[in-house]
């Protein structure tokens, strides 16, 4: 269970996040929606310890992890898949995965790697090639796989569908559902509200650093005016 409670983050004098709360239970996906600059990415980065938190709390299974160094938070069981499918381009696919398992034992990592390869056969096919030569969708899968390597209890995804071909978006988001179903708590930021709502269990809508809507995804799917009101027509496609 990942819980973010009343989080405040500022860049100098600018308050980027003003009291955001969001939570994700094991096996469930919480979708964070919001326009550009709403503070979504800032929230994830602060929860991960990559930005200083001004006030508020981040709890993992009830244990506060606020303000801990990032590399310790990973050991605590929370992992971030950052925006823009970042992989270590010159390293091979397998080396990227091995790095992802840095915090676990060798046996555990080998075991998880088998599972990752099962989940993404394409990664196994290209295990010895440089990660930089993978397609966009494949790099996103590698980023997922690498995050899974740390055997996390909770995962935060920052815009997994960004910059992918439409057909790829569907398969990537399908993968996100599979990951959640394996019992991991997922907190996902997405601009593609339409697709995101299809797989999400709960939704949090953020505008100018504040939560403006929070509830089950079903409700947002039925009553699209909620999403429409805060994100505009574009977010729900044509």
């Amino acid at each position: 269970m990942l819980e973010i409670r009343d989080l405040h983050v500022s860049y100098g004098k600018v308050d980027a996040v003003r009291g955001v709360s969001a939570s994700a239970a094991p096996g469930r996906i919480t979708l964070v929606l919001g326009a550009n600059g709403a503070g979504k990415t800032t929230t994830l980065r602060a929860a991960m310890g990559l930005l200083p938190v001004r006030s508020g709390q981040v709890l993992l299974d009830g244990k506060p992890i606020t303000g801990r160094p990032t590399h310790r938070i990973v050991r605590d069981g929370l992992v971030l898949v950052p925006e823009g499918r970042q992989v270590f381009a010159p390293l091979t696919v397998e080396e990227n995965l091995v790095l992802g398992g840095y915090t676990t034992s060798r046996d555990k990592a080998a075991e998880t790697m088998e599972r990752v390869y099962e989940m993404f056969p394409i990664l196994k096919e290209r295990r010895n090639g440089p990660a930089g030569l993978l397609s966009g969708g494949e790099q996103q899968m590698l980023a997922f796989g690498r995050a899974l390597m740390s055997s996390p209890r909770a995962m935060m995804l920052d815009e997994p569908s960004m910059g992918l071909a439409p057909t790829m978006v569907e398969s990537v988001l399908g993968t996100v559902r599979t990951i959640a179903d394996s019992g991991i708590a997922l907190l996902m930021v997405e601009q593609n509200a339409d697709m995101g709502l299809e797989i999400a269990d709960d939704v949090v809508v953020v505008a100018r650093g504040e939560v403006v809507f929070s509830g089950p995804a079903e409700q947002a799917r039925r009553n699209t005016s909620v999403v429409r009101a805060f994100l505009g027509e574009a977010a729900l496609g044509a």
């Binding site: 991960m48 310890g49 990559l50 160094p69 990032t70 590399h71 990973v74 050991r75 992992v79 971030l80 950052p82 970042q86 270590f88 381009a89 010159p90 390293l91 080396e95 091995v98 790095l99 992802g100 840095y102 915090t103 096919e125 290209r126 090639g129 440089p130 930089g132 030569l133 690498r146 740390s150």
Partner: protein
Amino acid sequence: MIGWYEANLVLIEATFLNFLLALSIQVPLRLGVFSFAGVGSYGLGAYTAAILTLRYDVPAFVAIGAAVLLAAVVGYLFSLLVARLNGLYLAMATIAFVLIIAVLATNGGELTGGANGLYGALSDLTTGGVVAVCVVVAVLLALTERGPLRRRIEAVREDPELSLSMGIGVVPMRQMAFAVSGALGACAGAMNALLRTTVSPEEINFHLIVLALTMVIIGGSRSWIGAFIGSVIFTWLPSVLASAGRWQDVVYGVIIILAAIFMPTGLLGLVQTLYQKLRGRRSAAVTAEAPADDTAEERALLQALGGESRGGVQ
């Protein structure tokens, strides 16, 4: 008639000392950290070894060992001080560190001999000892260029934040790099002071910073082999260029500019690329039926990609 070895002993020794100096810049650079603190440590090490030898007449290995240890600790403490700096700001702070060491040496009174420096630090250090130290250092560094440690180092250089997000302790690794850089720089400085029996504040100047950086960039910044190639070239080049007379500096400058333009991955990178190209062409000819995902074209792309991400200083 004296042999080539005796005639060039000073240059041979200087090659190995420059090798260590170059490594003191290269170690942090491999983690993506632009630090010249190793040059300051060179001065720190030189003075420490000279003072210990002059005042207490300790054996060479004790003087060098103490210098290395002191510089490693100072390097570590310095890394805490500049922990929040990055890129150019960090580079500037490390240059300031070098200049501070030089100022301390000039104004150290009786202890450092002031502007004249220290003379007569006679010790039992031999050329063989210098070479032995360099071999040990090269072996240890070669170990960091393979296996799990290489992956970690490359990950931290490519993307420190992503490395953090994977649980890699980026900050401790950087602190370690500063300590190792300090130790390497001090080792070079201490051995230089003991071999020459003198040390003066003029030695720790901007020229030494430029030399150290040039050796690493032109030789190759990713491997100890690159640092060695660089140290050989830039130790011997001035004496080779002596025949150019008063044009010596111009020729030196032109060579560096051309190298920077045409060898962005250093000499070592150039040799590796050529080798891979040769091998790639041969194996493509042998395996007429290459698997679909491993065509020569893709391999060329791979090389271009690898070359690009390895090129320059990030």
